[in-house]
């Protein structure tokens, strides 16, 4: 009986580990696709030297943030860390989930990487040619800001996932795999990755972040989950079922609202 419980517990831990890697991979992948769109748009129009220097400097700044925050988080007690991380993941994840539901039900337009790429190119072409420190300042600052802001979200996800599950390596591995896949796809496509099912990925990420946030936040608050680690899957299923129900209800409501306006006179 005890052996079976241990096997079940190990199975749940493995499932949670897989979910940490998957969550980190998908969340970081989406952010990296957005950063890639900015870098490609600027690099193609303004040239690659200043753009890539901007990417490099942003990467160094991000590495410094990870180096500073990572060890600092290790000294915080795991209960407190899970409470804070859970609260942040909940707030952050619920935003993703909410927007993904609104997009799936037609209340919000889908994010269009191709349109974003065209907009980025137009702005890059229209901007003036200011030189600073031997760099095309526009190309440098736009690629720096784009990579830094999208990268901060990646860092946040990796650090929160890694710290709460005490597995920085796994969360970082998920992010590294996403980086390899996105950069390789960008090089092969030589353009924005417009065929990425971005809303579906964001939906899955929103669900994962919210479920992890709920699980760790409650555990950090002192909750003893029935079924221990297995309850994470139950939370995921519970929130997933309700989110799909919301999509269905909103789609139906939207159809009813639009129907009279679209009906022929």
């Amino acid at each position: 009986m005890r052996a079976r419980a241990e096997i079940r517990h190990d199975g749940a831990v493995n499932t949670n580990t897989a979910l940490v890697v998957l969550g980190s991979f998908l969340a970081c992948g989406v952010e990296m696709v957005e950063a890639l769109t900015i870098v490609l748009g600027v690099g193609i129009v303004r040239g690659w030297r200043s753009t890539l220097i901007g990417v490099g400097v942003a990467t160094v700044v991000l590495a410094a943030i990870v180096a500073a925050l990572g060890p600092a988080l290790r000294v915080i007690p795991i209960g407190t860390l899970r409470f804070v991380v859970g609260a942040l993941l909940l707030a952050f994840g619920l935003q993703w989930l909410r927007k993904a539901i609104l997009r799936s039900s037609g209340y919000m337009p889908l994010h269009d990487e191709d349109a974003a790429f065209r907009r980025e190119r137009e702005q890059a072409a229209a901007a003036g040619h200011e030189q600073k420190a031997g760099l095309d300042w526009y190309a440098f600052t736009v690629s720096f800001k784009g990579v830094l802001l999208e990268g901060l979200e990646v860092v946040f996800i990796v650090i929160t996932f890694g710290s709460a599950q005490k597995s920085y390596g796994l969360a970082a591995a998920g992010a590294a795999a996403a980086l390899v896949v996105v950069v390789a796809a960008g090089v092969l496509a030589r353009g924005p990755l417009e065929r990425v099912p971005e809303n579906t990925i964001k939906y899955a990420v929103g669900l994962l972040l919210t479920s992890f946030g709920c699980f760790w936040g409650a555990e950090g608050a002192g909750v003893d989950w029935p079924g221990d680690e297995l309850s994470l899957l139950a939370v995921l299923a519970f929130l997933g079922a309700f989110s799909l129900l919301f999509v269905r209800l909103l789609r139906r409501r939207r159809r009813h609202t639009l129907a009279p306006a679209e009906a022929p006179a």
């Binding site: 609260a87 707030a91 619920l94 989930l97 909410r98 409650a218 002192g222 939370v235 919301f246």
Partner: protein
């Protein structure tokens, strides 16, 4: 000053986002969970239910006047 404001705005958008009521509701739900569990009630059910209710409320607010 401009950079501090941009930095603060980034974190506000990142954590709180479009609907501050959801963030506030989550803080209250987490606080209640903490209080209940430290007073002998294992309130594991509170947070999942609160998330569903907060999400439903936020979606309703966002879509009620939409075309």
């Amino acid at each position: 000053m401009k950079y501090i404001r941009s930095f603060a705005l980034f974190w506000w958008n990142f954590v709180v986002g479009d609907d501050w009521r959801v963030a506030l509701g989550l803080a209250v739900a987490l606080g209640l969970t903490y209080l209940l569990t430290h007073n002998g009630v294992n309130a594991w059910w509170l947070l999942p239910v609160a998330i569903v209710l907060l999400l439903a409320g936020s979606l309703w607010r966002e879509t009620r006047n939409a075309p």
